[in-house]
């Protein structure tokens, strides 16, 4: 007869949280899926008539171009993060033991501070009369174009690249490198044939950690990108907040989720093979 009170206890613990998630996570997600097939009302509401128009619009060169641009910007950001993050993580992993945690926390700490303050700081630094231009004596246009978006994304998500890379590199057995050296390989060959392949799972995780939030971002391009540069997130934002076109906004969001899911699946597959 213990199962009955156990059922009530289980409901008491699980019930509130799960109901909350149902109401404010699962139902909203279902709405995003569901609204993609409906029409937009003339004044922003939703007309419950089926249409494939939203999906057709997705392949309009105008919108497809933005998707390609977003992939490009997120890709460049990820590549730069890897190029800077790998040697950074490598350097931390080779520090004396007592310094490692501090060095790592120092990389992560900015990530845990206010997003808008970090964006604000970049603007102060990079604006026309800002520190970079006055130090160099130049009048470079550092803000409000695609380069600024990449800088902003890199500034936000670099720590997410360093963390998994550090874990992967720190785990490496130093004897493997020694063995490779003893067998006549130079430093570069050792890196290419031994170190890098062994840390590949960390590389993949780091790339996902940077690519995923970069690709779906709307805030960084909104703040640093000026009025011309757009990413998928900005299209979603415009559809929802300016045009009140919920059906098309949902379709864009669904496309965004789909791209991210495909990437996650690829990553899972590659990781399993590795």
């Amino acid at each position: 007869m213990r199962s009955r009170p156990r059922f009530w206890a289980a409901s008491a613990f699980l019930g509130p949280g799960l109901l909350y998630l149902l109401a404010f996570l699962l139902i909203p997600l279902a709405l995003i899926f569901g609204f993609t097939v409906f029409k937009r009302g003339r004044f922003g509401g939703i007309v419950y008539e089926y249409t494939a128009e939203n999906f057709a619009r997705l392949f309009d060169p105008l919108y497809l171009g933005v998707v390609v641009d977003s992939l490009k910007l997120a890709g460049i950001t990820t590549l730069l993060a890897l190029l800077l993050g790998y040697p950074t993580a490598y350097a931390i992993a080779r520090l004396p033991h007592k310094w490692r945690t501090i060095a790592l926390v120092a990389v992560v700490l900015p990530f845990l501070t206010s997003f808008i303050i970090r964006m604000y700081a970049l603007i102060i630094l990079m604006s026309g009369p800002g520190l970079i231009n006055s130090a160099l004596g130049t009048e470079l246009e550092l803000l409000y174009h695609e380069g600024a978006i990449v800088t902003g994304l890199l500034y936000c998500y670099l720590p997410l690249m360093v963390l998994p890379l550090y874990t992967a590199i720190e785990r490496l057995d130093p004897q493997l490198r020694e063995a490779s050296g003893n067998l006549g390989a130079n430093a570069f060959t050792t890196f290419r044939r031994v170190t890098f392949p062994l840390t590949l799972p960390g590389v993949l995780t780091g790339c996902m950690f940077v690519f995923v939030p970069s690709f779906g971002n709307f805030a960084v391009p909104e703040i640093l990108g000026g009025s011309k540069s757009l990413m998928v997130g900005n299209l979603v934002q415009t559809a929802f907040l300016k045009e009140r076109d919920y059906p098309f906004g949902s379709t864009l969001a669904l496309a965004l989720i789909a791209v991210l899911l495909v990437l996650l699946l690829i990553q899972a597959k590659v990781a399993r093979r590795g």
Binding site: W8, A9, A10, A12, F13, L14, G15, G17, L18, Y20, L21, A23, F24, L25, L26, I27, P28, L29, L31, I32, F35, L84, P87, T88, Y90, A91, I92, A103, V107, L109, P110, L112, T113, S114, F115, I116, I117, M119, L122, I124, L125, S127, P129, G130, L131, Y155, L158, G216, N217, A219, I223, V236, F240, L241, Y246, G249, A253, L256, I257, L260
Partner: protein, 257 residues
């Protein structure tokens, strides 16, 4: 070669900290320019207190963060205990963690649609509800980690001795979980205070949180008070993070005793 290895590390540090340090430095500027330092002063900290938009935003943010902390900590803790002790469902585990993985934009627009369907007025409550969705996932994760270190046999003993589920939870489970719950609450608070994207969609026009206020100020031009505010916020974030880490460590070392 040995010293050369540290070069990328220093590049990373300069890249990550230079913008922040410039803002902190300029917050003590006596002049009005956000770019040229004209001598030390605390003037902008005073002006900050007199700026109604910023103080109002700060109050709104603190209300939202407090509400989010309470709601997500209570729900997240119960959920963590429920998931660990009353079910083995992988699906429920995944649902509980999902908000932490989903792009914030997706959470934001989904909730915006729910709000508009039920005609819920946007304001501080709509942001609290939205923030709690993802904050809860983090609380659940932190408390579950703590729960996996806790001794389940103590709970069994309590039940065998005749205590009900509720009494066992309050007298045995909760005290063991306390450091994890506090760490989770701190995390929820920090996440909510800094959150931009979801608040941007769900705050509406009348009661805006601080990040949104700063954002709209950025659109029209940089005000020197923001430097002072940024410095204060950085201090709060750093303190909360370090306190959270200390607590987690303290909890872990106690759990291993």
């Amino acid at each position: 070669m040995g010293k050369l290895r540290l070069v990328p590390l220093w590049i990373t540090y300069v890249f990550l900290y230079l913008p922040i340090l410039v803002v902190v430095w300029m917050s003590f500027n006596a002049g009005r320019s956000p770019y040229v330092f004209e001598g030390f002063s605390l003037r902008w900290y005073g002006e900050l207190a007199a700026n109604d938009r910023l103080t109002e935003g700060l109050v709104n943010t603190l209300i939202v963060a407090a509400g989010t902390t309470v709601l997500s900590t209570v729900l997240g803790t119960l959920l963590a205990v429920g998931l660990a002790r009353y079910t083995r469902s992988k699906l429920l585990d995944a649902v509980a963690l999902m908000p932490a993985v989903l792009p914030d934009l997706v959470i934001a627009i989904g909730l915006l649609m729910v709000y508009s369907l039920v005609q819920f007025t946007l304001g501080l409550w709509s942001v609290i509800i939205a923030h709690s969705v993802f904050a809860m996932a983090f609380v659940t994760a932190v408390v579950r980690t703590r729960l996996s270190h806790a001794d389940a046999s103590l709970e069994e003993a309590s039940r065998d001795l005749g205590a009900g589920a509720f009494r066992t939870f309050v007298r045995i489970t909760l005290p063991q979980l306390a450091p994890g719950i506090v760490a989770g609450a701190l995390l929820a608070f920090t996440l909510s205070i800094d959150e931009f994207a979801i608040a941007f969609f769900t705050a509406g026009n009348t009661q805006q949180t601080l990040p949104i206020v700063i954002y709209s100020m950025l659109k029209v031009g940089v005000k020197p008070e923001v430097n002072a505010l940024a410095t204060a916020l950085l201090l709060v974030s750093f303190t909360a993070v370090i306190a959270g880490q200390r607590l987690t460590k303290l909890g872990e070392s106690r759990a291993h005793d």
